[in-house]
Every structure is written in structure tokens, then in C-alpha cells.
């Protein structure tokens, strides 16, 4: 084969990969935690610092673990959706208040409503590292036995809730039954 053809052939292969890559969702980053047990942790509660929130709280029922902070604009955007999900009552919502300020976070919850059963306060972001948190907001779906079923990056929407979360809850509930 003529060596002058090599560049164009290489480029053609590259284009094929780029074409496939374009049709993929760039916000989809799978978590190595999926299918595994949730990491253990114990953090002070946001509203009552002398009490703790631990991984045990997340077990025993379907729960979602939502990483948020007052400095994150996506979190403000998804907040009404979380309120709506909480009102439906299918899951317990636990929050990981990430690298935030207690005062700001408390007034945020007073102003915008509090969908959370409890909030763990992760001042230094250590627990977030264990969970492989990539940025806020992120939401994990956790089965009653403590397995991570799904992770959603970027603000939660009702659409995502129905297609990704509720279907997985239904499937997981079906299996155990």
C-alpha cells in the first residue's frame, strides 16, 4: 500500500469514532459504585450537629442520596423537583450537603422547602470523595439492602425521575418479591 494513503485512512477511522462518540450522552458517567454496597460514613446532621447521619439510615427502604450545596445553581434548579418527589413518598430522600455553610444551607431549606428526611453535613467533602462525587448536583438511588442502583449527574427532572429511577425501583422491587 502506498504510504501517502495512510493519513487519510487513519483520519477516516478517527471520524467513525467521533461520529459514534457524538451520539453518546456526555453527561453519562457511570459510577463504579453501581451494583456495590454504599460506602460507610458517619456525618453530623445539618440541623442538629450533635446527631449523626450514617449509611445505616439509607438502608431499609428505597432511598435517594442527593448531593447538593447552596453555591450550586443546578441544585436550586432541581429543588422543586425534589420537593415533588418527597411529596409522592415512594422514597426517603437523604441529602449530602457538600462543602457548604450551615447558616446558608438552613435558610435555603427554610425558603425553598425541605424535601430531605435528613441531611448529612460534609464540610470538607471527604465523604463525597468516597462516593466518587464528580460535581453537584448528583443523585444516587439506593436499594433497601444498601446496593447502589443508579447515579444521576446534573439536575434532577421529573422525566429522569420517571424513566430512570421509578423503573429501577419497580424492577428491583419485582426481583426481591
Amino acid at each position: 500500500m502506498n504510504r501517502f494513503i495512510v493519513p487519510i485512512v487513519g483520519f477516516a477511522i478517527l471520524v467513525i469514532f467521533l461520529m459514534v462518540g457524538l451520539n453518546r450522552d456526555p453527561t453519562f458517567v457511570p459510577s463504579p459504585l453501581i451494583g456495590k454496597q454504599i460506602p460507610t460514613f458517619s456525618l453530623p446532621r445539618l440541623d442538629e450537629p450533635d446527631k449523626t447521619v450514617t449509611d445505616a439510615n439509607l438502608r431499609g427502604q428505597f432511598s435517594i442520596f442527593n448531593v447538593w450545596a447552596t453555591w450550586c445553581s443546578g441544585c436550586r434548579q432541581e429543588h422543586p423537583v425534589l420537593n415533588q418527589i418527597a411529596a409522592q413518598g415512594q422514597v426517603q430522600i437523604y441529602g449530602l450537603n457538600w462543602k457548604d455553610d450551615v447558616g446558608l444551607a438552613s435558610s435555603w431549606l427554610q425558603k425553598l422547602g425541605n424535601p430531605y428526611t435528613a441531611n448529612a453535613f460534609d464540610k470538607e467533602g471527604r465523604v463525597a470523595i468516597d462516593w466518587g462525587v464528580y460535581g453537584a448536583p448528583e443523585t444516587f438511588l439506593i436499594a433497601p439492602d444498601g446496593t447502589v442502583l443508579y447515579r444521576h449527574i446534573s439536575p434532577m427532572t421529573m422525566d429522569v425521575w420517571k424513566t430512570e429511577f421509578l423503573t429501577r425501583i419497580a424492577a428491583a422491587a419485582g426481583e426481591t418479591r
Partner: protein, 653 residues
Amino acid sequence: MIPELGQLCTTIALCLAGVQTIFPLVGAHRNQRSWMAVARPAAVGHFVFLTIGFGLLTYSFIINDFSVLIVASTSNSQLPILYRVAAVWGGHEGSLMLWVLLLSFWTVAVSVSSRRLPDYLATRVIGVMGFISVGLLLYILSVSNPFLRILPVPFDGNDMNPLLQDPAMALHPPMLYTGYVGFAVAFAYAIAAMLAGRVDQQWARWVRPWTTAAWTFLTLGIALGSWWAYYELGWGGWWFWDPVENASFMPWLIGTALIHSLAVTEKRDLFKGSTLLLAIGAFSLSLLGTFLVRSGVLVSVHAFASDPTRGVFILSLLVIVIGGALSIYAWRAPGLDRNAGFKAVSRETFLLINNILLSAATGLILLGTLYPLVLDALAMGKISVGKPYFDTVFIIPMLPLVIFAGIGMHAAWKQADTAQMVRKLRWLVVIALITGIMMTALAWGTGPVLTFVGVVTGIWLVLASLRDPVMRLFGKGPLLTASMIGMQIAHAGVGLFVIGVTVTSTYSIETDQSVRIGETVQVADYSVTFNDLQQVQGANYTALRADIDISQDGRIIAHLNPEKRVYRVQTMPMTEAGIDVGLGRDLFVALGEDLGDNAWSLRIQYKPMIRFIWLGCIVMALGGLIAMGDRRYRAAIQSKSPAVESGTATKLV
């Protein structure tokens, strides 16, 4: 009205770019003088209308016209005027406007200074550049229109990303883009020469100053970005192998190889195949970089636009421009290439090694950048290879490159006299070994072997580069042309850069400490005292400013004020590090989180010789600037250039 006028001007510019493409290219093919004559006026008109369009867009930013979508999304009435102008290219749409504006600027620069060029070449070059412009303007006007309005008109804008509100960051994109787009000139020259079926030494001489100019801008642009990341991102790193950084670094590496390959083509009429391919490659990687950054195929902290329709458009553009260029190459280059007539030890060999190593480094970086994408396309999951991969694969081709660069500069064309080179360079090797090992051992004690190797090769390259110019200062040795002096200075810059990178990456100390106000902590030989913390008001932000003294041996040597800013509109916390700058070392303190009870986390870093990294880049750019000024690039066409040159060819670059 103003934005609509801007859009109209941009549309007219698109039409003129079309004229600038069709008439010159078809005219040159059919050898019709009247059609070819359209090239220059069309290029000038294209530039003028685009400048007006860009100017009107800038005007909308200056007067805070929030009815324009991109003004509302990237600017704010509280933003200082300098940043309102910089906000024009702070987002996706505006930055592409800047891209095409610079492209048309380069086109005009080429057409004005190409009066001496034969028409068959000049018109084709202008035509090819017009073609690229048509593609990008179509993209802008169809899927990325910066002049779009928004209803209802917001009361105020969303503000510029606080990370970008910085003088270096305001300058970084224009610099980088000037470099990126500048490679379009070499690209257009390569296509034009292949279409015309003629690549000779005179052609190479015309291309060289343009390539060097683009390379110089790109060097400065990348250095600015790295410097900005160092002091603004707050964790003291200077290079992250982020896909966006790689997107600018790959064209730089290939551009560097192109500069060297062009030297061989100009002096020896060889390496034409690789010169053409590198010219295509440098610009193709610039375009690919734009695609990777803009389409969101690679997730990165930098990516500000992620839109599949845009991705499909840019990909089609890539296929047409790069695919077209490589097809022409596959068709024409076999008849033009010639790679014979030099001995194993000669400057040609060293430059060949240089091209291979630089291309290999680029290939490895491209692989690392695209590997996650390829794995994802094969449905094997999203992963990222990160810094460890790049650090390892980059050093493998770079170490021999730096060693050979010092030797290659002193090798003669065709056949080098090995004995004479050894006589010339042996003492420099000895000096490099002694000073390198002594300096490192005395300053920092022990270290890994690779660190000593790095410092010694860095010093070696500086010495080997500066040998001839320093001898010349004392009136000895051969006479040097501007392009030779530029080349030597640029190589010395590479040497300084290597020293800086090696020392910083081995001997840096980075600690995070919890410090109470009034407390003193010890980091290496330095005592860091946290005196006070105050609230201060900036133009569009509120900041906490720490007051920190650093002392050594009981003497205060630096007073730093790191800040933690919260920008009012985007309420995003930002670190503004306090840095005590020195050629030998930087002391870097960033204010971290409030740990309660008057304690704060402080990130304290000792960064030895980190300034050499950017100093090296500036020296490289200076070398480029000097080389560009060589008189022979401005001289009239020499009718028998090869013959005239041959007498001095063994000495010239």
C-alpha cells in the same frame, strides 16, 4: 437594530468569502487572470465586513444590551468594561466569531504581503483560506448565531464565569486563536502548492515566517493559559493534561515539527512529503481541537457548549476540510516527495529524528485524549486516562529529543564532521553534567535519577544553544543570521523549560494545614503566620482577605494576601492565591475552607523554579520573533535561489 446590522455584515462577509473561494480557485485552475484578480479585493472586503460585525457585537456587550442572548448569558452590568469586552469571546458563539475574524485577518495579511508571490500560488492560498472561512461562517450563522435576541429581555445579565474574570484569561483566547488560525496559512500554502503541483525551496521560504508567527502566538497563548491555571484555579498546578489543554498542545507539537521540516525543505529541497503532511496536520489538529472543545464529545472542565447539532456540523466541516486535504495529499504528494542525498550523520538526520519524535509525542497525546472516546464508542464505558499516562508517555520521546536537539544544531547539512562536533561540544557536556548535578544536589539534596538527568539535559540544551551566539559576541565563530539566532534562542528556551519542569515536579512541597488566626506553621524552612482575616469589597464580588507573613531564619521575606471571593451574580466561590514570586522559588498560599473556631484550611506550597516554565516559553517565543525578522523572508524572489544559497547552505539554519 445594532445586532441585526451585525448579522447582516456577517452574512455579507460570508458571501464575500464565497467569492474569495470560488473565483480564485477556479480562475487559477483555468488560468483566467480576471477571475484570479478577484482574490485580494474579496479577501479585504470579507475582512472589513467581519470586523464591522464583530465590532457591533462588542458594542452590544459594552452598552449592556441584554436583549442579545449571549450578552445576557455571559455578561453583567456590574462587570468592569475590560471584562465586558473579554466576555465577547467568553462564550461559545462569540469565541467562534473571534476565530473567523482572526482567520480573515491572517488572510488579509497574506494577501497584502504576497505581492511578490506568483499569482498561481497567491490566489490559491487566498482561495483555500476563503473556503475555510465559508465553512465556519456557515456554522456560525446556522447553529451558533451570536446575534440572536432573547424575549423577554432580562433585567440584567447572568455574568461572566468568575474563573475567566482575569487579565491573563482575557488575553488567553485571542493569543491561542491567533496561533491556531495562523496555521491555516501554512495549510493553505500546502494545499495551494499541491493543487499547482509545485513545491520548491522558494515555496518553503514563503511559508516559514507565517508558520513561525503562528507558532509564536500559540506558544504565548498556551503559556498564558498555564500561568492562569497556576494562580487562579487555586491548587498550584500548571498543566493538567485536560482535553482542552491537549487540544492546544497537539497543534503546537506538530507546528514545531513543521518549522523544522520546512527548514530542510528550504535548505535542501527535501522532506517535501512530510512538510506538506505536517502543514495539513497542524491546522487539522487546530480544527479537531475546536471540535473536541466545542462539541462536548469529551467532557472537560472547560467545555462550555454541548450540543449535538453543532457537533454534527463541525464534524462534517472536519471531514470536508481535513479529509479533502488528506485526499489531495494522497493524490499529489507522491509525485513531489524526495528524501535522499544525505548521510547518516547530518543535520537532515537529526531533523528527521526530531520530526518523528514530535509526531510520536503528538500521537501518544492524541491517543490518550481520544482513548476515553474510543472506549465509549465501543461501549466499554467512560473512563479517563489522566495525568499519570500523559506524564509517562510524554517523557519517553521528549528526553532523547532534548539531547539530540543540542547535537543536531551543530551538525552540518548533508554530511556532518563527527570529530569536529565532538571537539566543539565535549566541554559543554562536561559543564552540563557538573553544574546540573552540583546545583540539584546542593539546593535540594538527593532526588530520583531521572531528576538529575532532566536538569543536566536542560542545562546541556541551554549551553549547546547559546554556544554560537555567545562566541559571536566575542567576535568568534561563524556569522549568524537572524533566523539562526532566533533558532538558538528558542532552543535555549526549551532548555530553561525542561529545567523548570524537572525541578518543580520533583521538589515541590504542597501541604494543606488547619491554621488559626494568629498561629504560625512551619513548611520546610519557612514559617507561615496567619495574622488576620478581613472582608473586602471588589467591583462585582465580596472577598475574605487573609493577611499572611512568611519568614525565613527569623526575617520576614514575604507578605501575602490570598483571597476567597464570592462573585455576587453567580455566587461562585473563587480562590485568589497569594504568591511570592521568585526566579528560584514561588511561595504560594491559598485560602481554603472555614474550619470553624477561627481556624482556616490553608494550602501552602513551595514551588522551586516554577518560573522557568513560563520564562522558557517566553524565550521560545522571543526566538520565534527574532527568526521571523530574518531579511531573507522579505527579500525579492531570487531567480536562482538554490545556486545562490548553496555556498552558505552548510551554515544556515
